[in-house]
Amino acid sequence: MNGYAGKILRINLTDRKTSTIDTKDYEQWVGGHGMGSAIFWDLVKDKMINGFDPRNVITIMTSPLSGTLVPGASARTEVQGIGIQSSPIGWFTRSNFGGRFAPMLKYAGWDGVVIEGKADKPVWIDIRNEDVKVKDAKHLWGLDTWKTQEEIWQEVSGRGYSNWVELSPESKTTQRPAVLTIGPAGENLARVACLIHDAGNASGQGGFGGIWGSKNLKAISVIGTGAVQVADPKGLMEARLWAQAKYSLDLENIGASWGSRFGRIRPQNVYWERHERARLQACIGCHQGCKEKSDTGYGNESTCVETEFYQGYDKWKHGGRQTSAAYIATDLLQRYGINAYEASKGLAYITALLKMGVLGPRGKIQCDLDFNKLGETEFAEQFVRMIAYRKGIGDDFAEGFFRAAKRWGRLEEDLKTGILAYSYWGLPEHGYDPRAEVEWGYGSILGDRDINEHDFVSLFFLPSRAIWVGRKPQPPAEQVVKIFVEKLVPYENNPLMLDYSTENIYSEHMAKLVVWHRHYTRFWKESVLYCDERWPDFMNTRIPGYRGLTGEGEPRFFNAVTGKKFSFADGMELGRKIWNLDNAIWTLQGRHRNMVHFSDYIYHVPYAGSGNFARYYLPGREGGEWKYIRVNGRCLDKGKFEEFKTRFYNLEGWDTRTGWPNRRTLESLGLKSVADELEKKKKLGS
């Protein structure tokens, strides 16, 4: 089985027994999310259980491309199970992370790990190739995520890592084990707790850290010395060099990549002040890292929102100067294992409540935080530790700030005004607001979580960044849209799918965009595990005509590794199947179209946008002409969103009254047994 190790590790924590699943049994789902959903479907008989139930099954899956030379696809690991973060129902959900874990799992001979049951006391799992042991974790429990990993590294090698480490006389490596672990937040069952790997790779959304804590699972460590078989090694090497030379960043001509995603002109995805004495840091196999490690030793490997979390407060406190507080605060999130979105939006929320006089010394909500120290390391440490150890009001914070607001009796009011910027399923809004960039919001509310899929955000950044600095955006909207829609197979060449004007955002065209996005990401990004940071590559300014790698690249690499003859469209269709299976699971959990709604502020408060986002531009038509239009100032119309949902369900072939999948659609995808189960539970759509 080219691209596969051939077996999946199944661990029942309750009796500490391990067994294997033959990967072939699930090969039709290809890998990652598809396989995870299918395994979850089979193993969890009662989908109504909550995430803390020992019967909850957590799948940790790789893809056939994991551990190979495919650019930006070698290192993601997909985690799934019933989550504990969303509301009103903890949906069956997902989160993936980069680093070294998935490749190492493959080299050890495993396509994934399936966690069942609950250990009677803290354990960690030690995987050294075929050898798997469930071990006592008494000495690790209570340690932060970094210390835990260092302890395990030492335990596995018996000494350091400056030389070859012998796992057995015939298996050697120079590499440290890849460890996925929880910190104190997870141990204390925080719904905002993450799984952390290395310094800054996190499976953040869903609350998987708290779920591991409830299962008494501290860490999984894996070290492998084996191989991933590749169907066409020459083809893979050729494709890698082709993609790199043609589409990625040319160090001698960086400027050419000004509008590219696969090879980005500014590779580092960090928002704090960068260090000059540093390196770019990549996940295994990546052609262009997005992380950094600096000579300060602070902020290693953190990216995106983690780096945004405290830098503004730090600068505000220190007269516009960035101090070490910003980096240390982020490191604390990583070490205690806390979801940076919750910490970030939550901190914004409680400071708003403080200003209103509702929280703090004079407010109804008692809070021990010393806000005079906001911006200092001391405050960050206090805030993070309160969450991790559920100290004082930290017990509310650890529940996530949506549930905290509910405990404080403020939920309805603060969702109406939007000071609690939690737009869907009780989860923090991402920055690409549903009122502005609708495909992000629609995808999130029609799914299970904040999608965190940046496929179309360059349609916002490209024009907006130019306008922010007083330049005319180039290329013109019509040309950019044309380049994008050529690649939206099987709905290709329909420019109206990318018309973000208020008149068009409830249309069938926009519904098609959301459908395309759901299917593309479910397969190519969450099952084959192409990384969201570098894929898809719609527009690439290094190429004459600006046509990017997407469409050609995804299947070319996939086929070189697996030897299959998959087309891009085949992948889209399999994405549809996986998306349908997910909806069947949500349906069994209790989903109905009546509950598919944004928080009130999305319908009532016009989108202002903060900072640069106050000037949010996207392509759209005005008077029949394509332009970059400003989308601030609008709300979503609740009635029209209802009509949009009907259009969306129709396109998916789902019951428009309930949003449930129906037999015809499921059977057309080869999911007859899923239809039977839904019918048995009286949840089959008509």
Partner: protein
Amino acid sequence: MKKKRKLNVQISRRDFLKFTGTVTIGAGALPKLIWVDEAFAAIPVSEGYLLVDTKKCQGCLSCMLACSLVHEGTENLSLARIQILQNSFAKFPDDLTMAQCRQCVEPPCVEACPEKALYVDKKNGNIRIVDTKKCIGCKSCIQACPYEPGRALWNPEKKKALKCDLCFNAPFWSEKGGVQGKQACVEVCPLKAIQFTKNIPEQKGDSGYKVNLRGESWKKLGYSTD
């Protein structure tokens, strides 16, 4: 004291050589003569070397994956003839090291091989290379490599030793390798942190092999070139 013998090699001024326990002559000029231990005197120097920049490396291990892929046809970090060691929690630049075969002027691995299976391929740029047909799997070469981590590896499946051949024998690559061709690690490195050279690097210590390849363009990424 070890016996020394004069060795005639064509080297540039940059390739000023200094061996442990030996005296170098011709410093400052264009030396045509170097002194080597007698045991190695009959061994011609390699016509190709890999240089690395450990401050430029992004730790993606693409060089290791490419090495294993073109030589073995599979992805296997343990069979990569170049090794990258890194620590997520350490400070730059000590968080990462790169370990490539040095194609030593005085190759202990060649000397250690009892079967002359690890030999100097005089027809092909004097690359220090393993003839797997002759290799009896005694691991003498692996033990003889004085560097840490050792640059000669063991293929447990085939029970043979492996080492960098500058891609001279890379059956799973369409490109021609060796000193006259391309090397997979050099070609694949996204940041060009590995370079091929025909000039003999300084043999003492690491400075000849771990070099600065950053150049002016590196500043455009916001990083120091020091």
